[in-house]
Amino acid sequence: MTLMSYRQALHDTLRSEMLRDENVMLMGEEIGVFEGSYKITAGLLAEFGEKRVRDTPIAEEGFTGAAIGAAMLGLRPVVELMTINFSLIAIDQIVNHAAKIYGMFGGQAKVPMVIRTPGGGGQQLGATHSQNIELYYAFVPGLKVVAPSTPADAKALMLAAIRDDDPVLFLENLALYNTKGEVPDHDEPAIIGKAKVTREGSHLTLIGYSRMAYVAKKIADQLADSDHLDIEVVDLCSLRPLDRETIINSVKKTNCAVVVEDDWLTYGIGAEVAATISDGAFDYLDAPVRRVAMAEVPMPYAKSLETAALPSEDDIINAIYQTLDAIGHRRSKTGPHD
C-alpha cells in the first residue's frame, strides 16, 4: 500500500499500463507539451514520446472518433476529454459509434478504449463548464461507465477499463484529484459493474458515486462519531452496468435510503437509484428514498448563487435526519442538526 493522491494514482496507472502493453496510447488536448489541463499525464510525453502521447487539435469529435477507429484495429487508446462538458462535441462518436459498433456489426469488431474525463463543479466555471452529464453515457447500452471515488478505486478501475474490450467512460472529478488514500501496490483490476459497500451500517443507506461517494463516506464516519449513527455507505463505482443487487441488499437491511448526486435531480442518476430501490426493496422501505442533488438552473458564476445551487454537506446531513425522523428512528444522541 502506498499513500497517494487520486491524481497520482491515475497517472501511475496510465504509466504502468503503457509499460505493460504497447497498444495503450494516450490522446487528447494538451496532454503532452502542456502535461494535461489537470496534470494527470505529466511527464508521460517525455517518457513515451509523441507516438504514444498524442496532443490533438481542438477537435473532440475528430480525435475521439479517431480513437474509436484505432481501437477497432486493436490499439487501446485512452482519450482525455478536458472536462465532461466538452464531451457534447464528441457525443455522436461515443453514443452512435463507440457504443454501437460491436452490436451493429454482429460482434465482428471490438472497441477497446477508455474515455477519461472529469466532472465536478463548484469552481465558479459557469453554466457551460459545471455540468455533470455522465447520465448521457450511463443511459447507453454498449458503453460501460465507471466513476471511482478513491485513489485505490481510480487505479483498480483504470486497470479494468484499459483491459476491457468495450468502450469505457471513466468519470473523474476535479475536486477529487487532490484527495489522498492508500493504494495497493499490486495491479489487480476492479470488476466493472460492481458497487461497493464502503461502510457497513444499519440505520440508513447513503448512496453516491464519484465525489459524492467520497462525501457520503466522510459524513457517515463523522455522524458515527458525533451522533452515534450507523450509516451504511454504498459507492456505486459503476453507473453502467448498475449493481442493483448491492443497493437493494443494503436497503433491505436499513429500510431507508438517501441518494446524493452532483447532477440535476429530475432525470438524474439518482432517479434510477431511487426507482430501483422503490421497486426492488418495496416491502422493506420505511420512508421515501430521499435525493439530494443540484438545483435545476444553469449554474451561475457568482459564488453566492453557485453555493446555493450545489448540494452541501449540511444538506446531506439534514436529508439523513429527515429520513430517519420519518421512520421514527430514535437518535442515540441529540446532535446539532435538530
Binding site: G62, G65, M104, D166
Partner: protein, 394 residues
C-alpha cells in the same frame, strides 16, 4: 506523426527494406509537392479525354463491365425485395455509381481497409464479399455479413476489410482516420479508404478528420462521391465550394477530381491517391457521378425536373460502358445479353439463399451488447419486471 518519421518506423520492420526505400522517396516527393502549392493537383473541370484502349485495358474493361453489371442487377434486385417488404429500414442503392465503385476498389490491396456509408452494397460486392451474405444482410438473416444486426446501412466484414457502412452522415470519417492512425502506429503499410457523399463534406467531422489526417500524415484516402445531390439538395446549395476536392487546400492536402463515368479513369486516379496515402501523404479524391434514381428506394425524386431526368439517361455508366465495348468491338450484343441473363439467374439464387437463411434467434438478443462480459448488465425483455420472483434484478 511527421513525414520524416514514417519511413523510420517502417524501416524497423527489417524484412520490408526494399519497399521501404521506395516509399520513403515517394513520401518526400508528395510532401514536397504539397509544400510548394497547397493545391497539389490542378482543377480538372472539363471531363477527362477518353483513354485509348490497349489490349490489357480491353480485358480490364470487360472485367469492370461484368462487375458493374452485377452491382446494377444486385441493386435492382434489392429494390424489388424492398418493395416486397423482404428488406426493411432504409435502402440506398449505388445505381449510377457503378464505375466509381469498381474503379475505386480496384486500387486497393485486399489488405487495405474501407470505411464507407449507408450506400455500400456495391462496395461490399467489389471487395469480393460473398453476395449471398450481402443479400442475406439486407433480409436481416443470420447468414448476413453482419449476422442480420446491421441491415442495408451497416455491412461489415473484417476478413475483407470492409470496416463498415455507417448511417450517421460523416460518422465514418473520424473512424477511418483512427484506423489509419493504428496502421501508422504499428508501422504497417496498409491504407485506409474512406468514402462519403458530397453532401457529407459540409459536416464538422469532415473538417476535423482531414485536418488530423494531414497533421499526423496518416495513410488515408478520403473519397467524395459527388453525385451533385444530397437527398434532394443540389451541391451548389449545400457546399459553398461545390468542387469538393478544392477543400483539401484548407489542410495543405493534395487532391484531385475525376469523372466517375469511366472505371479506368477512376482506377488511375484512385491509384495515385492510394499510393500517396501509402507513402504517408493523405489525399482527397473527388469522383463525380450521377444518382440514377431517388435517394433511397422509396424516394420518387419528384424534385427532379423532366429535363434533368432526361439528361440522366446520358449518364448511365453501365449502359455507356456497354456501348463503348460494342463500339470498340470488344464484345457483341449477344454476349452481353447472355451475360445479363446469367447474372439475373445468379441473383435469383442469391435472393433464394437470403430468403432461406434463418431469422436471428431471439435468444441472441443480448449477445452483442458487450465484448467483455460484465456482471449486472441488463438482460430484461421489455415485458419482464425489473426484479424477478426472487428479487434478483435482470
Amino acid at each position: 506523426m511527421s513525414t520524416a518519421k514514417r519511413p523510420t518506423t517502417k524501416a524497423s520492420t527489417a524484412t520490408k527494406t526494399a519497399s521501404v526505400t521506395a516509399k520513403a522517396t515517394a513520401t518526400k516527393k508528395v510532401a514536397a509537392a504539397a509544400k510548394v502549392t497547397p493545391k497539389a493537383t490542378p482543377p480538372k473541370k472539363s471531363p477527362p479525354k477518353k483513354t485509348t484502349v490497349v489490349s490489357s485495358d480491353a480485358v480490364q474493361l470487360l472485367d469492370y463491365y461484368r462487375e458493374m453489371l452485377f452491382i446494377r442487377r444486385f441493386e435492382e434486385r434489392a429494390a424489388r425485395a424492398y418493395t416486397q417488404a423482404l428488406i426493411g429500414g432504409y435502402c440506398h442503392l449505388n445505381l449510377g455509381e457503378e464505375a466509381a465503385v469498381v474503379g475505386l476498389m480496384s486500387a486497393l490491396r485486399p489488405t487495405d481497409y474501407l470505411f464507407t456509408n449507408y450506400r455500400e452494397h456495391g462496395y461490399a460486392i467489389a471487395r469480393n464479399i460473398d453476395p449471398n451474405a450481402i443479400m442475406a444482410e439486407l433480409y436481416g438473416r443470420v447468414d448476413g455479413v453482419s449476422k442480420g444486426w446491421g441491415g442495408s446501412m451497416h455491412m461489415f466484414d473484417m476478413e475483407h476489410r470492409l470496416l463498415g457502412g455507417y448511417g450517421i452522415v460523416g460518422g465514418q470519417l473520424p473512424l477511418a482516420t483512427g484506423a489509419a492512425l493504428a496502421i501508422d502506429y504499428r508501422g504497417g503499410d496498409d491504407v485506409v479508404m474512406c468514402t462519403m457523399g458530397e453532401g457529407t463534406s459540409n459536416i464538422g467531422a469532415f473538417h476535423e478528420s482531414l485536418n488530423i489526417a494531414q497533421l499526423w500524415k496518416l495513410p488515408v484516402v478520403f473519397v467524395v462521391i459527388n453525385n451533385f445531390l444530397g437527398m434532394g439538395t443540389k451541391v451548389e446549395l449545400s457546399s459553398a465550394e461545390p468542387e469538393i476536392y478544392r477543400r483539401a487546400a484548407a489542410y495543405r492536402m493534395p487532391s484531385a477530381r475525376v469523372d466517375g463515368a469511366d472505371p479506368i479513369e477512376v482506377a488511375a486516379a484512385a491509384r495515385i491517391a492510394v499510393e500517396s496515402a501509402r507513402a504517408g501523404q493523405p489525399y482527397l479524391l473527388e469522383v463525380t457521378c450521377h444518382r440514377l434514381r431517388g435517394h433511397s428506394v422509396v424516394d420518387p425524386a419528384k424534385y427532379r425536373s423532366a429535363s434533368e431526368v432526361e439528361e440522366l439517361k446520358l449518364h448511365d455508366p453501365v449502359h455507356n460502358l456497354a456501348e463503348r465495348l460494342l463500339n470498340l468491338g470488344l464484345t457483341d450484343a449477344d454476349t452481353l445479353a447472355a451475360l445479363d441473363e446469367a447474372m439475373l439467374a445468379r441473383l435469383d439464387e442469391i435472393a433464394a439463399f437470403a430468403e432461406a437463411s434463418a431469422h436471428p434467434d431471439v435468444n441472441t438478443l443480448f449477445d452483442y451488447t458487450y465484448a467483455t462480459p460484465v456482471p449486472n448488465d441488463s438482460r430484461r425483455l421489455p415485458g419482464q419486471s425489473l426484479f424477478d420472483e426472487n428479487g434478483v434484478a435482470r
